[in-house]
Subunit: 305 residues, 2 copies
Amino acid sequence: MSGSKCTRLSGALVKQLLDSVDSVLFDCDGVIWRGDQAIPGAPQVVNLLKEKGKKVFFVTNNSTKTRKMYADKMSTLGFNVTEEEVFGTAYCSAMYLKTVCKLDGKVYLIGSNALKQELEAVGIQQTGVGPDHVAGKQADWANVPLDPEVKAVLVGFDEHFSYMKLNRALQYLIQGRLFVGTNSDTRLPLEGGKAVPGTGCLLQAVETAAQRKAETVGKPNHYMFDCVASQFSVDSERCLMVGDRLDTDILFGSNCGLKTLLTLTGVSTVADAEAHQKSGCADRQGMVPDYYVESIADLLPALQG
Amino acid sequence: MSGSKCTRLSGALVKQLLDSVDSVLFDCDGVIWRGDQAIPGAPQVVNLLKEKGKKVFFVTNNSTKTRKMYADKMSTLGFNVTEEEVFGTAYCSAMYLKTVCKLDGKVYLIGSNALKQELEAVGIQQTGVGPDHVAGKQADWANVPLDPEVKAVLVGFDEHFSYMKLNRALQYLIQGRLFVGTNSDTRLPLEGGKAVPGTGCLLQAVETAAQRKAETVGKPNHYMFDCVASQFSVDSERCLMVGDRLDTDILFGSNCGLKTLLTLTGVSTVADAEAHQKSGCADRQGMVPDYYVESIADLLPALQG
C-alpha cells in the first residue's frame, strides 16, 4: 500500500485497500447522500461492508440532528444503520462536555433543538434554545440576567442566531465560562452550487466578541475519532476515513492517523487536492488524501466480487 | 517637537504642540464624553480651541447616530459644535459609497436607522433595516428574494442582526456585490468595565460566510481623514488626532501622517502604548502615540493662558 498520495482508487487496489482496514468512517452529506437523496450505490456499499464484517461509522459536523434523526433518515434511504453507529456533532458535543470537560452545571446554548436533546440525553441542562430578540437599551444589554448555573457556552448551528444571543454569550464568556463550538464549517453547501452560512460564521462572531478561541468538537479536530474509539474497538492503523471535504474530512483522517479517501460527489475536487500536494506547504499535506474515487459506488465491484 | 514618542504632554510642551497645529480631530466616546457625561473640562477645551481659530472635527467609528444626533448631543453637553464638523461612520459610509464607490443602485443594509438616514441624505436607497427573523426551511434560505437593484452590502452596528440577515448578505455577496463595513471594533465598552459586542463581530460573521474581506470605512483606515480633507482645508502635517484607543484612533493618526495624542479617559493605557513601542515590531509602531495626557482637560491651562 505504499506509493504516492492522491491515487485514483480502482481495479485491484480497491480490494487491497478494503482488506487492509477493519473500520470505515463516512462523512454523510456529499458522501452517502446529497440533501434528501442517497448517492446511487451508497446504501449497497455501506450494507455490504457491514455484511463482510467491517465496522462502519458516520461522522458528521452537522449539529442539527440527533443520532436517532440520522438513523431514521438512513433507514429511509436504505442504509442498514443503528443509532450507535452515528456520531454527529450534536451528540459528540454533549459527550465532550460530559466526559472531557466533566461539566458540572448548565450550558448556555446557541444551537438547535436537536443539540438540546442530545445534551439532555447525557444529563446536561441548557438555557438559550429558540428565538432571543433584542430588548431594552444598549446600557441594559451588558446587564442581561445570567443563569448562575451556566458553566459553559456551546455554539452550534442556530437559525435563531441574533445580536442578543451573541451578547448573552459574551456576558458569560467575560466571566470565564468554558467555550465550546460544535464545528467551524463556514458554509452549508446546498444543491446547485448554492450555500447558506454555516456554524463557523456564528462561532467567529462569538470568538471575536469574547476575544478568545472556542474548543471545537467537529472535524478536523480528533475528538470525534476519540469518541468512536471510546465505545468501539477501532485500530487507527486499520481504519479508513471517507469524505468529500479536504479541510474537514481528509484533514481529520490525517490528524487521527487514518487512511483517507476523497469522494468527488461533494465539495472538493482532485485539483484542490493536487494544489495542496504541490504547495510544498507542510501544513497543507494533511489535506491530501491517500486515494480518491468519483463516488463511493466505485467500491461496489470489489464488495460484490 | 522632535524626541522620543509616547511623551507625557505637560507644561510648555502643551502650548508648543498646539502652536504647531491648525486642526484637531477628536474621537468622541472616552475622549470628550463617556456615555452621557462630558469629560470634565472637555467642552471648554473644544470651545477655546475654536475661539483661538483652530479647526475642530469629531471622527467616531460609532455608526448608530447621524451627524445631527451627534451635534445635538454635543450641544446638550456644552460643546459649541455644528453638524458639519462631525464625521461619524454612518455619514462617512454614505459618502464613501457615493464618492469613492460611485454606487449606482441600492444598498443591502445591516445597520441602524441612523445609517439608513445618512444613506438617504446622500440619495442612496437601502433595504434591510429592522428585524428579519428566520422563516421557511433551510433549502429555501439560499433562495430568499433578492432586490436586483442592490449593488452593495453595508454592515454597521445592528441590534437586529440575525441569521437571516447574515444569510441575505451572503446571497448578495455570492453574486459579487460590493462589500463595505462601517468599522471593525470588536466591542463597545460601557461603564464599569462592561462591554457589548461591536460591529466587528457582525462583520466577521459576514466576512466568514462570504469568504472575502469588506472594505472598512472607519478608523484605523484613512478614509475618514480623506472625507474631512475633501470638505475643509486641512494640512496633515499641522493636524493633531486625539483618541483613547491605540488600535483605532492612534493608528488612524499614524496612517494619515498626523500628530497623535492618547488620552487616558477611555480604553488604552500608557502601559499598552509602551508595550507596542518596546515590541520592536514594525507594524505596532503606528499604535505608539506621540504624546499622552490623563485627560484632554490637561490642555486647558495652555488655552486659558
